[in-house]
């Protein structure tokens, strides 16, 4: 692999990682702040992608579809928190796992009822449909670069929101001391609802902007969910910084795992076991720091 | 003092410290616990007494300093290893198995002294020695007749007694007792004080306690902690008359 190809592959890995970050950051915020494990998080990624597909056909514009989709998913998130999730704050994680697993089935099946089981492609918006030629054989799709840029902007916004705003202060305080926040007269219920909706919207938004490059297909949410768990475990629960580090790391490991060839004792280990690399990375992190790279010591 | 010097030192710390962020909860503490003595640690709330016990029992690793059990350094060992070396502790906040009966609490504690609990095929209830040790501990803690009741159904004072029974059931030679009398009625307190007086013969006891009457009734040595550091240490009479201590602690205590 020459240097140019190597750098392009790094770009591929980072781009994938940034997208994962969007999904994982929502997951880690909901974990860290609300203490809720939400298995249905990945379903919102899928819902976002399907919304992008069906709404963009309806409106004829991906941008309108994304706008409407985000509003819709925020509403769904608020409704879910209000109807179901807030019943679980004082319950064992086991019940959170079960309830949100039930939601996965409900969402997956509703998707099947509403949109069917086919794979669909989503057209890239025209002004981003170009490719930049990098080598004589390879061009890089502008849309992929645009995704990375959007993810980076959102990451910065999230950082500012958490570090610099009153809501962010409440979020940080809520994470460390529930009673204190309540004694300050802050409506923690409202904060939770907002955080949950924010998390869900992030996942759905990631699904929407990813739709043109990933296609939309049944079960896409679960794939992402599990990888995002790995991101969160590697980065440390509740740490947005950790989610970023974990996501980029996994993006790179996954990308290079697919293309690097490694043989051990005559067996081709990579790319044969490419699907396992991210989990092996997780195992290594567990041995080194069970609480994750940026996690608080347990 | 002469008598005390002859006794074997069981537990000893050297410059033991524990910091939480910038705060030194335990600061450069050196103390000794001898066989046949009750060493009481007193001090205002937040003085670092519980943290000190946590450092000795292995519930917390120290930031600096060393802990010795007899000649062996136990600094940084985990709590289960320290427990197996014969150091038993009780907790200030009741830390028992609420759904279990009082007997099962003590039995699980006593069972920890089997060479191993990796035994799968025989009912736990058929280990006679374990049952006897548990029963003995319950009687010592004043819980005879209450064995079959789930701890969650016992009174707060009785739960405190279960806490002590569990510690005793492990048959420790060194006891670290964190406010054993807290939450107990006068009658139960008297009983535990009596128990301590009886136990001291074969044990080294480190006692953290707020009940000054009880402390002066049983303590052979007193250490006063303030802000994580040792303010004074010595025989009870010397401490009682120490002006520094009176100002910092006892004086205010009596003023209440």
């Amino acid at each position: 692999m020459d240097l140019g190809t190597f750098l392009i592959q790094v770009l591929n890995g980072v781009q994938y990682g940034l997208l994962l970050f969007l999904v994982a950051s929502g997951l880690t915020l909901v974990f860290g702040i609300m203490g809720i494990i939400n298995l249905a998080h990945g379903s919102f990624y899928m819902i976002g992608a399907y919304l992008a597909w069906s709404l963009s056909q309806h409106f004829g514009s991906l941008w309108l579809a994304i706008l409407a989709g985000v509003v819709l998913t925020v509403l769904i998130g608020v409704a879910l928190e209000w109807l179901l999730i807030n019943k679980l704050y004082h319950r064992d994680h086991l019940y959170q796992v079960l309830l949100t697993y039930g939601l996965i089935l409900v969402f997956e099946e509703l998707r099947s009822v509403i949109w069917g089981n086919d794979v669909h492609g989503v057209a890239v918006p025209e002004w981003l449909a170009a490719s930049i030629r990098l080598t004589d054989t390879l061009a890089y799709p502008v849309y992929r670069l645009w995704i990375s840029a959007v993810c980076l902007v959102l990451a910065v916004l999230m950082y500012l929101l958490i570090q610099r705003t009153r809501l962010g202060m409440m979020i940080r305080a809520g994470a460390s001391n529930r009673e204190m926040v309540q004694s300050l007269g802050i409506n923690i219920q409202l904060v939770y609802r907002l955080v949950f909706a924010l998390g869900v919207a992030l996942a759905a938004f990631a699904g929407m902007i990813a739709a043109p490059v990933s296609s939309v297909f049944p079960g896409m949410g679960n794939q992402v969910l599990i990888i995002c768990f790995v991101v969160v475990v590697i980065g440390g629960i509740g740490s947005v910084k950790g989610a970023m580090a974990g996501a980029i790391l996994i993006g790179l490991v996954d990308t290079f795992g697919k293309i690097v060839q490694v043989e051990i004792a005559g067996f081709r280990v990579l790319p044969e076991l490419a699907g396992m690399t991210v989990y092996l990375l997780m195992a290594a992190v567990l041995l080194w720091r069970p609480e994750g790279i940026f996690g608080r010591r347990l | 003092m002469a008598e005390a010097a002859a006794r074997e030192t069981v537990l000893r710390t050297e410059a033991l410290s524990r910091r939480f962020g910038g705060l030194a909860a335990v600061d450069n503490v050196a103390l000794e616990c001898r066989m046949g003595e009750v060493h009481a640690v007193i001090g205002p709330n937040g003085a670092g007494k519980t943290t000190l016990i946590n450092l000795l029992s292995g519930d917390l690793p120290p930031s600096a300093g060393r802990v010795f059990l007899r000649d062996r350094e136990i600094t940084g060992l985990r709590s289960d290893a320290i427990s197996r070396l014969g150091v038993g502790r009780s907790y200030q906040k009741t830390n028992v198995f609420l759904p279990f009966t009082a007997f099962e609490n003590a039995r699980v504690a006593a069972q920890s002294r089997l060479p191993s609990s990796m035994r799968f095929f025989r009912s736990a209830r058929t280990y006679r020695q374990v049952n006897e040790a548990a029963e003995r501990a319950l009687v010592q803690a004043g819980l005879e007749g209450r064995e079959g009741i789930p701890v969650s159904a016992l009174s707060h004072g009785e739960q405190r007694q279960v806490e002590i029974a569990m510690t005793l059931a492990t048959g420790p030679s060194t006891l670290l007792l964190d406010e054993p009398l807290a939450g107990m009625g006068a009658e139960e307190s008297a009983r535990i004080v009596e128990l301590l007086q009886k136990l001291v013969a074969g044990h080294a006891i480190l006692l953290v306690e707020h009940d000054m009457d009880a402390v002066f009734a049983v303590a052979d040595v007193l250490t006063v902690m303030v802000n994580g550091a040792v303010l004074a240490s010595g025989p009870p009479e010397a401490i009682r008359s120490n002006p520094e201590v009176q100002e910092a602690y006892l004086g205010t205590e009596e003023a209440h």
Binding site: E109, I226, I237 | Y91
Partner: protein, 320 residues
């Protein structure tokens, strides 16, 4: 003691009734009952982790599927495998796998533990899904069921659904008895103590990690037994068997029946399978009512069906 005797009596009657089933019902129901019993073994093994030790694993299917794969891999393609050796390999394999995974995942707790067990289950899924070790995503078939002879005598024939059912029934009762025994043993008391208050167990001198690990291995091995039997029954093993839907359904059986009771998860398995059939009859989109049902159980039935009847889980813990 009286409680134990009543339980024994009830169990005896139930066992007899179950043993009589193949002589009363037709093949479809016998095969359904076989499947339920296999899942009951799986759910009971998970109960040991979740209900008794307090370790919420979302990757238990890894051991279930792994043992199934081991059977498929050691079976000659068109001949019967030896029951005893293939079973021993499957059980030993899932035990070793549980030892390795357990040693890693038990370094974490709480939410981490849930996520990490899920992730390791997925790792196994990818191992079989992405490589050609055993048919990749298509899975692998066990064309002929294993044969178990004892010095040339063949006590049962797995190709006969009644024989297989009875063997599975014996296995399920055996697992139940084994777990009851283990739970009453010093080891069992330790793991229950760990669930209630691990910190205190440690300060009493228990090296809790080791007990949790042994418990994890035991649960994994029994899950392997269930997986082995499932592979024999269906004659096919595929990556989905290791996936998180299987793990989550087992968790659902546990909660539905009532965790920490052993009997509950078995009942949960029966109810879940029945509901699945029922929903499938009503609609092609049967996962929709199933999902709603799961949500409702999580919200409204924390102690499960057994808890509904006895109203007490604490009772089980306070024995002793």
């Amino acid at each position: 003691m009286a409680g134990a005797r009543v339980r024994l009596a009830v169990l005896g009657v139930l066992a007899l009734a179950l043993a009589a089933l193949p002589f009363l019902a037709d093949k479809f129901y016998v095969q359904l009952a076989t499947k339920i019993l296999i899942l009951a073994i799986f759910a009971m093994s998970l109960d040991l982790l979740v209900g008794y030790t307090g370790l919420v694993s979302l990757g238990h299917a890894a051991f279930f599927g792994f043992a199934g794969y081991l059977l498929a891999l050691v079976s000659p393609q068109y001949e019967a495998a030896n029951l005893w050796t293939s079973l021993a390999i499957a059980l030993a394999g899932s035990a070793v796998l549980a030892l390795v995974i357990g040693a890693l995942v038990l370094r974490t707790s709480g939410i981490y533990f849930i996520m990490v067990t899920l992730a390791f289950g997925e790792m196994l899924f990818h191992l079989f899904h992405d490589t050609s070790i055993a048919g990749g995503s298509d899975g692998i078939y066990v064309y002929v069921r294993p044969v178990g002879t004892i010095f040339g005598w063949q006590p049962f024939d797995f190709e006969d659904f009644t024989h297989f059912y009875l063997v599975v029934l014996v296995a399920a009762l055996g697992v139940y008895a084994l777990l009851r025994m283990v739970l009453a043993s010093p080891f069992g008391r330790v793991i229950v103590g760990i669930r209630v208050n691990e910190h205190r167990m440690r300060s009493l001198g228990y090296h809790t990690f080791r007990y949790k690990l042994v418990c994890f291995v035991l649960a994994g091995t029994l899950a392997g037994l269930a997986g082995y039997l499932a592979a024999v029954q269906f004659g096919v093993v595929n990556p989905d068997m290791l996936g998180f839907h299987v793990s989550a359904s087992a968790l659902m059986m546990l909660i539905l029946g009532g965790m920490g009771t052993l009997v509950g998860p078995a009942i949960g398995a029966a109810v879940m399978m029945t509901l699945e059939l029922l929903f499938q009859k009503i609609t092609d989109h049967w996962l929709l009512p199933m999902g709603v049902f799961i949500v409702l159980v999580a919200l409204l039935l924390p102690r499960g069906l057994v808890g509904l009847v006895t109203g007490a889980r604490a009772k089980d813990d306070s024995r002793g």
